[in-house]
Amino acid sequence: MPHALLAPPQEAVQPILDRHARDPQELLQILVEVQHALHCVPPEAVDLVAEYLDVTRAHVRGVVGFYAFLSPAYLGDYAIYLSDNITDRMLGNRELAEYLCSRLGVKLGKVRADGRVSVRFTSCTGLCDQGPAALVNGLPVTRLTRERVDRMVELITARKPVSAWPPEFFQVEDNFRRSDVLFRRPFEPGAALKAAMLRGGDETLKDIQQEEALDPASGTLWKRGADETLKELYRSDLRGRGGAGFKAAIKWETCRDTPGGDRYVVCNADEGEPGTFKDRVVLTTYADMVFEGMTVCGYVVDSSRGILYIRQEYWYLKAHLEAVLARRREAGLLGRNILGTGFAFDIEIHWGAGAYICGMESAMIESIEGRRGKPRKRWPLPVVAGVERAPTVVNNVETFAAAGMIALKGGAWFAAHGTMHSTGTKLFCVSGDCERPGIYEYPFGVSVREVLRDCGACGAQAVQVSGPSGTTITRSEFDRILAFEDLATVGTMMVFGPDRDLFEAVENFSHFFQHESCGLCTPCRVGTSLLVNLVDKVAAGKGGPMDLIEIQKLSQIMKTTAHCGLGQTAPNHLLDSIAKFRPVWEARMMTREFEPAFDLDAALDEARQLTGRDDAAAHL
């Protein structure tokens, strides 16, 4: 039931279709725009899109069904998603949700009868340092309080469009608390690219532009610059910043040396790991650095096509990112003739639509190609057969930013920072119980204790490093170092103060994985649900030692048999928690043996009513 305020589907969908090619790969991008225009993807729109792209309606519906932010049913004139990461919970989002719902007269997860508004929870929105956060019609509202909720209710009641809401609601801060060598000063657009191209010799850029160098096929300077830049990348020993730490130079070289069509350079800005928000800040303030890193990569691997895949939660950055790209095209840093050398490279933005799994590179590529974001088989790797089965470099936002700086300042400069096997600096996203949540740049090798001291979290009892899929560490481990040698991490650090009940994190994380499992493989699809059942049973005070053993058994099965990293890492937090914080579990155990998760006598209730019986045998 689309609302009268919004255009009817036909009118709204046609211009969207007109903006996109008749290519099934455009499906997800079209659906994202339809969702924004209509606050749903109604059956009429499914028909129009299916016909336009010449795909089946089932395929379109399948894609709509996969992504959390695409909805077949109307979400109301105001679609409110409340971020439900553990850090939002620490800041009281559950109470605020209840308050918001009661003020609006709406049931959580349902649209109000008049079609005005709906409220539901969503996974972490990447605003953990300024929560509790929400998305209203796709725009982030930060630092929710009761007062802010009151104001929101007034505005919704008065039917004020979100564009007319007070701008301070939508204020998103960088909170860049500590910068080191990489993000110390603003990045000068073009500097890294010029440096890369000039590595071909000591000639000036003007020389590159001369006839013999112009043609990439014959120009020796051209090729030499790319080769030398790759060598610098090797010298830097830069490892992927997405968490896995694969060496960027090997990936780039493999991509370059794999035959097969035009290559792709893909920047992974999906950033779905709860508690992670560095990509948001980098793309807000250092977008040029990222795009330049991607362009340098295109230069090195001989690719002309770059894609930024970015999560739907950062939709508010759309205008900003498009403006940066436009400015770079004007400055000759993107396009068909970059810096007058004839090198062609451009970047397009692909929007995710709410799926944690799309941070996994092959699932992301499926999503880029417009399908459900299900991970592909492990081999061949994307670097050999990625987007459209062409050789594809997929790197994290921060990796490209670092690569850009390495092109500018050289590999030795970069390798002088950090540790033996983890060179350079790393961004850390600190949130939770600390005085100064935000982004911290440190050289690799910094200890957890040092980060905690700097952010003002000396009393912490635990830190969740690298998000729910990472490692839970206790006080006695705070001297461990953040580096691939010890605690490998995407940079996420959620801090738990001394008074926190850590079981709340266990509940939050296990439900998160259940929600985000893509459903492809049984160990993950069923395993995450069974784990949630067991965690909920313990939470309800019906757990026993048997249930802990069962959790550990299931976890082992998932770690060894799940198809991709999601299922393999989903039980990490449970195993850590049981091993390191067992009292948290035991405090909830009412039984030493085994007890059903449900009330047996209550299970006879319906039968008692139907038969009118209440004798002794009618009870358990």
Partner: protein, 180 residues
Amino acid sequence: MAEKLKVATCSLAGCFGCHMSLLDIDERLLDLLEVIQFDRSPINDLKQIEGMVDLGLIEGGVCNAENVHVLRHFREHCRILVSVGECAITGGIPSMRNHFSLKECLEEAYIRGVALENAQIPSDPELPLLLDKLRPIHEVVKIDYHLPGCPPSADAFWHFLTELLAGRDPSLPLQLLRYD
């Protein structure tokens, strides 16, 4: 000769197919009876377990109050309790009713059924009350082993029982877990 190990069996919301499959070990039953002795079981029609038994085999899920009592009785009297077959382990065919409310199920059978006179939902106190949902048995009591299959093949029974009685890990080899 050492004292024989005692084994009790029963079928809850099952079809007795698992028991039939147990009997399908054929003449090996005689070898088995050299080392075990059946306590309560439909095979000998004993109705209660006397004292403690070593091994209990349960077929079928938990659909009513009586099943709960029987299951608890087994748990209390069996040192090792085994969930046998699809219905005990997952609920099986009887759990298809879980997609409907109990009211819908009973009305379909006793109110809307064909050729009924004086249609009513039976309420005789002799009849055990049905649970709102059928449950696999491990959701009601602690279970030590699961013996899968619909039914577990005679060879699976034989392997499981002989290994367990010999004090070894009774895990089934892959060929006994293949059903295609």
